[in-house]
C-alpha cells in the first residue's frame, strides 16, 4: 500500500490501516460526542420545526412551513431586527473603546500592567453578577440607585431605568453593562495585535515625516491591526446576536419577561422552555437564528477577510 504524501515523519513506517487506527483513536472520542451533541440536536430540531410540537418532542401533527412563517412575521422577527440595531450600536462602540484603551495602555511606561489588569478584570465577572450590580445598585429605579442619585444632584427626577421603555433608557443600562464586561477582553486582543507591529514600520514613518499621533495611527497602526480588527468585529457581532445572560437577569422577573429589549435567545427560551413549551416554533426560531449567524459570519469573512490591505 502506498503511503500518502506528506506523511514525512521519518522513522515511522506504519501500515495505512494501523495509521487509520491511530487516527481514530485520537479523533473518535471527540467526533462521536460532536455528532451526538451537535448534529443530532440540530437534526431533531429541524424535524420538530415542521410539526405542531407543543408540550411534546415526539409530535405527530405535520404543519409544513407554518412555524417558520409564524416566526418570521411575529415578535421573533421583531426581536431579530431589534438586535441587528443593537449590534449596530454595540459593535462599533466596543471596537472604538477597546482600541482606544489598547492604544492608550500600550504607549505608557508606568503602571502599564496595572491599567491593563484593571480594564481586563471585568472579564472575570459573570454577566449575572454584572446584571445584579447594574440592576440593584447602579441603575436601580428608586431613589437609592447611584445613577438616580447623580441625577438628583442636578435636580433631575429619578428615572425608572428598566421599567419604562418609553423613552428607552433601558438600553443605557444594557449597553453600559455589556461594554464593561467585554471591552477588556477585546482590548487584550488589540494589545496583542499592537505588539506584533514591527518597530521598523514606525521608524520608517518617522523618516518619511509622519507626525506622531493621528497620522501614524492612521497610516501605520490601524492598517497593521487589520486581522485583529476583523476578529474583534466578528466576535462582538456574533456575541450581540447571542445576548442572553444580562438581558434575562436585568429585565426578567418572577412573572416573565417584557416584550421590549427581548433578544432572540430570550424569546426562544420563554417560548420553548417557558410556560408555552412550544418546541415546534422554538426549533424553527433556533434554526433561523443559527442560519442568520452563519450567514453573517460568512459574509463578514468574505467582505473583510479577503480584501486587500489598504494604505
Amino acid at each position: 500500500m502506498r503511503l500518502p504524501r506528506g506523511s514525512d515523519l521519518s522513522g515511522l513506517r506504519l501500515q495505512a490501516s494501523a495509521r487509520s487506527a491511530a487516527f481514530w483513536l485520537f479523533v473518535a472520542p471527540f467526533l462521536i460526542g460532536l455528532l451526538i451533541f451537535n448534529y443530532i440536536p440540530i437534526g431533531w430540531s429541524a424535524y420538530l420545526s415542521f410539526f405542531d410540537a407543543q408540550g411534546t418532542v415526539t409530535p405527530d401533527t405535520f404543519v409544513g412551513l407554518s412555524n417558520y412563517a409564524d416566526m418570521l412575521t411575529g415578535p421573533f422577527a421583531q426581536s431579530l431586527l431589534t438586535f441587528s440595531v443593537f449590534a449596530l450600536f454595540i459593535v462599533p462602540l466596543t471596537f472604538a473603546l477597546a482600541l482606544g484603551l489598547a492604544v492608550a495602555v500600550n504607549r505608557i511606561r508606568f503602571a502599564r500592567t496595572f491599567f491593563r489588569s484593571v480594564f481586563f478584570l471585568p472579564t472575570a465577572c459573570s454577566y449575572v453578577v454584572a446584571a445584579m450590580v447594574w440592576k440593584l445598585s447602579l441603575f436601580s429605579g428608586v431613589r437609592f440607585g447611584l445613577a438616580n442619585t447623580v441625577l438628583d444632584w442636578f435636580g433631575q427626577d429619578p428615572v425608572a431605568w428598566l421599567s419604562n421603555p418609553d423613552p428607552p433608557w433601558y438600553w443605557v443600562v444594557l449597553v453600559t453593562a455589556r461594554l464593561w464586561l467585554q471591552v477588556g477582553f477585546y482590548m487584550i486582543l488589540f494589545i496583542a495585535g499592537l505588539q506584533r507591529i514591527p518597530d521598523s514600520l514606525y521608524e520608517a514613518a518617522f523618516v518619511d515625516g509622519a507626525k506622531p499621533g493621528w497620522q501614524v495611527f492612521r497610516h501605520v497602526t490601524f492598517p497593521q491591526l487589520r486581522p485583529t480588527s476583523i476578529a474583534v468585529l466578528l466576535l462582538s457581532l456574533i456575541a450581540a446576536y447571542q445576548a442572553f445572560d444580562e438581558f434575562y437577569n436585568l429585565l426578567g422577573t418572577a412573572r416573565g419577561y417584557p416584550d421590549f429589549g427581548r433578544p432572540p435567545l430570550v424569546y426562544l427560551y420563554y417560548l420553548a422552555l417557558g410556560q408555552t413549551q412550544d418546541y415546534g416554533h422554538g426549533s424553527a426560531g433556533a434554526l433561523i437564528l443559527a442560519l442568520l449567524i452563519a450567514l453573517v459570519t460568512l459574509a463578514q469573512g468574505r467582505l473583510l477577510g479577503f480584501g486587500r490591505q489598504e494604505a
Partner: protein, 417 residues
Amino acid sequence: MRGYSRRGFLGMAGGVTAAGLLAACGSNTGRGGGSGGDTIEQWYHAYGETGVQQAVERYAKAYDKGTVHVQWNPGDYDSKIASALAASSGPDVFESTLRVDMVRSKQIVSLDDLLGDARSDFTESVLASHTVDGQVYGIPQAVDMQMLFYRKSLLQKAGLQPPRSVDELIDAAHKLTTGKVKGLFLGNDGGVGVLAGPALWSAGLDYLTPDNKVGFDDPLAAESVGKLRTLFTSNSLLLGAPADWSDPSAFTQGLTAMQWTGLWTVPAVQKALGDDFGVLPWPALNGAGKASVPFGAYGSMVNAKSKKIDAAKAYVKWLWIERGDYQQDFDLSYGFHIPARKSLAAKADKLKSGPAADAVRFVQDLGKPSNPPPWTAKMQLALSDSLNKIVRSGGNATTELKNTVTQVQDELKRLNG
C-alpha cells in the same frame, strides 16, 4: 506498532475510566423525580412571608409514610414548572394553578378519588378552578386574593376619599405624588403583569366568555387598558422598586402611598403601619363594569411522569385533605390566605376584623377567578405582550388588542377544534 498499541489500550482504559467517573458523578444529585429513590420531591414557589418555608418543611418532615424533600423556587416559578413537567425530571408533587393544556398533554394526574367526603367542604368556585372536564387535578391549598392598599393618613392629608372609579384612582395617584413618595405602585411593570384581569372586569368584560369565546373583543377593553397607559405616563407610578408588587416593602418603606398587592401581606403591613391603611377592590371603569378582586388558589398536583404516583397522591391527601391543623397554620400563621375549605374558613378568626375581613367580603361579592383553566399560557402571553406594548411602549390599544383576539382565537381552535 511497538509501543503504540499497548499504550493505546492503556489510553483507552483511561478514557473509559474518565467516562465512568463522569457517569458516577452524574447521579450524585440523587433526588429529583426522574432519578428514582423513595423520596417524594415537592416544589413550592417562594412565598415572600417569613416562616412559610420552615413551615412547609416541618409538615413534610412530619409525614411518616415516606420521606419528602421540599424545594423552594424563587424566580420565575411558572416557567420553571412548565419546563420541568415537560422534561420528565420534575418534582413528584408541586403547587400550581391549573391550565387546560396541562391536562391535554397529560402532564398531571386526576386527583378526583382523593377528595371523598371532603369534596363538599371545598369552596365551589375554588374547586372549579382546579377542575377540567369534571375531573379535579389540584387540591386547593389556600385562596390568595389581590387588592389595593392605601395609606389612610396620606389620603387624609391630601383631602382625598378612597377612589371609587378608575378615574378617581388616577386622580388620587396624581395628588399623592410628592417628591420622593409616589402615588401608586402596581408592580415594576406598571401593572401589566397583574392587572390584565381587573382591567377587563372593570369594563364588564372577561378573558373568555362562559361558552369559550374571546371575552374582550370590545372597544371598552381598549379604553380600560388605556387607563393603565394614562397611569403609566402620569409620573405618579412607582417603577423600579427593589421588591415587586407581591411584596409590601415599597408600601411599608414609604416609597408609595398606594400599592396593589395581596391579602397575604396584611400581617406585615399591620406590623409596619398599624391601623394606618385601608384596602379597596380595583375600581370599576364605568357603569357597565364592576369593581373586582382577583382570587385564585394554588393547588397541590401530582406529576404524571412521577415514578411514585401512588405515594405522591397519598402524601397530597394527607397534607391537603387530612391535616386541617397544618392547613390552618399555613393559611393564617404567616401571610394571610383565605382557607379553601368552608369548615376552616369559619374558624379563621384573624380574617374576621379589619382589612382582612374586607378582603374576605370582596372575594365573596366581587371575586373573579384569576386563573380560569381554559385560559392557557399561550393566551396569557399574547395578552401580556399586547398590554406591554400598549401600556409601556405606547402602542395603539385597538390594533394591539385586535391582534391578541386573533391569536387567542387560533389557540382556542387548536385546543378545542
